[in-house]
């Protein structure tokens, strides 16, 4: 098997420009790798037109870094003519009739969509085990979870099946699997990337982002994903910038905060030790690091549960068996059709969350739960802003421990949320944040560092991440 896909994309680009290889070579290599690694269950659907699409690029001169490079897309981002299931039975025959804005951008650059990746059903979970299609496996240890909900994208990149993937992050769904599989995953600032065509879960939190092998590839991919979009009025108009511009710069004088909560007893010793090693290294490099107090971080999981379950119950009301997706065979009235379709079409985790969400939004409960959650959300955001007056970045671990065994959470409806305790606060405030690998534990399981930036300051995250990447 050829090894072109293991090269840095700048090197692959060079080979394409020199016509030493073709996009079809890359696609064939990716398809072969996916076939060989089938047991990882990283993909739900392979794009059966991708060889044809690659062939048409054979005679064209590459005009950008991503030309002809294979990419995997999380299966909650719609792709015209290519099945998009959200890892749910209710959409297992759904063929979108339009492209998400990010998919249009990827196609404009002539990247090749190799397939749609496995995930937690409707992105609800932190291990990808709620997928209707079965859980993806962690390429570094197949008895462990990939994390979630973008677990298939993480497995595809970490398993070296493709160099790049897209994920989505509502409460850690890019960072958590990136952490467990040892890759670079960034959740951009809310509003940075258009959500048009991303099947909504918690609309005020959802954000699409890049999952890659290196910091440079991550920043380069973000360059092409961003921008205001008339089709998503929560996307924000910002001056065009190059997210790679601070990569490799000196970090002397960089002011970094490490909240006490992030290194409290909820974090395992092996993870904490590794993070503190990075802290020592960064201090040696001249960064100024303070351990600080931050309020409200411990309330974030509760707030997250209220907001996402409420928003999900509203967003998922559209799956009613009328216009698209699965419909029950057995209904003689519309009301029965709705209830049976949703009962048969949704999995257990989704049903639980939309039932609680409907309860949260019903009558007076909306005030007790949802309105109050939005108020505390404002406090969390103000608390981040307060810290960012004195600091450029906030760091900590991504998760409290390394990737757990498959089937650990099956019978605990509560624990799946606690897995994301350290990453959820970021989504409340809409901030950008990354998981970057900082080594492994004694059993070879990856540990990541969580780097949180000011709103729209992704470039600063990449600056610190590139410095860490060189050493760890």
């Amino acid at each position: 098997m050829s090894k072109y896909l293991d090269l840095d994309i700048r090197k692959i680009h060079e080979l394409l420009v020199e016509k030493k290889i073709t996009p079809l070579d890359l696609v064939d290599e990716a398809l072969e790798r996916i076939e060989d690694a089938k047991e990882l269950n990283a993909f739900i659907t392979i794009n059966d037109k991708v060889r044809e699409e690659a062939s048409t690029l054979g005679e064209v001169d590459p005009n950008n870094l991503f030309f002809g490079i294979p990419i995997a897309i999380k299966d909650n981002i719609v792709t015209k003519g290519l099945r998009t299931t959200c890892a749910s039975h209710i959409l297992d025959n759904f063929i979108p009739i339009y492209d998400a804005t990010v998919v249009e951008k990827i196609k404009d650059k002539k990247m090749l969509i190799i397939g749609k990746t496995n995930m937690d059903e409707f992105a609800m979970g932190s291990t990808s085990e709620t997928s209707y299609f079965g859980a993806p496996l962690n390429p570094l240890d197949k008895t462990k979870v990939t994390g979630g909900s973008s677990g298939g994208s993480a497995a595809a990149v970490a398993g070296k099946l493709v160099p790049l993937a897209l994920g989505s992050d509502t409460g850690g769904s890019i960072r958590n699997p990136s952490n467990y599989t040892g890759i670079v995953g960034l959740k951009p600032t809310y509003g940075r990337v258009s959500r048009y065509g991303l099947v909504a879960y918690g609309s005020s939190l959802d954000q699409i982002g890049p999952m890659t092998r290196t910091v440079y590839e991550n920043a380069s991919l973000l360059n092409i994903l961003v921008g205001e979009d008339e089709k998503d009025l929560t996307s924000v108009n910002k001056t065009k910038e190059d997210f790679t511009r601070l990569i490799g710069e000196d970090i002397k004088g960089l002011r970094i905060a490490l909240p006490k909560y992030f290194i409290s007893d909820i974090v395992t010793k092996e993870v904490k030790d590794r993070v503190m090693e990075v802290v020592s290294y960064l201090k040696e490099q001249g960064a100024l690091i303070d351990i600080i107090d931050m309020s409200y971080l411990d309330t974030a999981v509760t707030i997250y549960q209220v907001i996402t379950m409420a928003e999900a119950s509203s967003n998922l009301a559209r799956f009613d068996g009328v216009r698209y997706g699965y419909r029950t065979e057995d209904a003689n009235s519309v009301d029965i059709m709705y209830a049976k379709t949703r009962s048969e079409g949704f999995g257990n985790e989704v049903k639980k969350r939309i039932m609680i969400g409907s309860y949260i939004l019903s009558g007076e409960n909306a005030k007790t739960y949802y309105d109050k959650a939005l108020m505390i959300r404002d406090d969390i955001t103000k608390e981040f802003n307060r810290v960012f007056k004195d600091y450029d970045l906030i760091i900590g671990p991504v998760a409290t421990r390394v990737a757990p065994l498959l089937d650990t959470f099956n019978d605990d409806p509560h624990k799946a949320f606690m897995d994301d305790v350290l990453v959820i606060p970021v989504n409340m405030a809409g901030l950008p944040a990354m998981s970057i690998p900082i080594g492994t534990n004694s059993k070879g399981l990856p540990i990541g560092l969580h780097i949180i930036g000011k709103a729209f300051d992704e470039a600063m995250i990449y600056k610190l991440a590139s410095n860490i990447e060189e050493v760890f």
């Binding site: 759904f94 509760t302 549960q305 519309v334 609680i356």
Partner: protein, 97 residues
């Protein structure tokens, strides 16, 4: 361990338009109670601001200009409908004489 009553489970299932088997009702009596206890923790938070944050976007009142844009064809829109009759989407009878 505390559980919800059957009626409570059936109430939230109805709100979410989900039908449940007896077995599922039993399971959710426990599982939903765990989640309800989780969200009830919000009642313990005493010291908080009074401003509601619906979205991290500062300017959330922006609207598109009211002009005709690109549209999907009726044929395309119907392509995923589970049951069709010509160009119509078919559903069970809604009004009984």
């Amino acid at each position: 361990m505390d559980k919800l009553s059957r009626e409570e489970v059936l109430h939230v299932a109805h709100l979410a338009r989900i039908s449940l088997t007896d077995e599922e009702i039993e399971k959710y009596r426990r599982d939903l109670k765990v989640l309800m206890d989780d969200i009830d923790k919000i009642k313990e938070v005493k010291d908080f601001d009074s401003e509601m944050m619906y979205t991290p976007i500062n300017d959330n009142t922006r609207l598109r200009e009211d002009v005709v844009g690109e549209m999907l064809s009726a044929k395309d829109v119907g392509v995923n409908a589970p049951k069709k009759n010509g160009s119509f989407i078919e559903v069970p009878v809604m009004i009984n004489e």
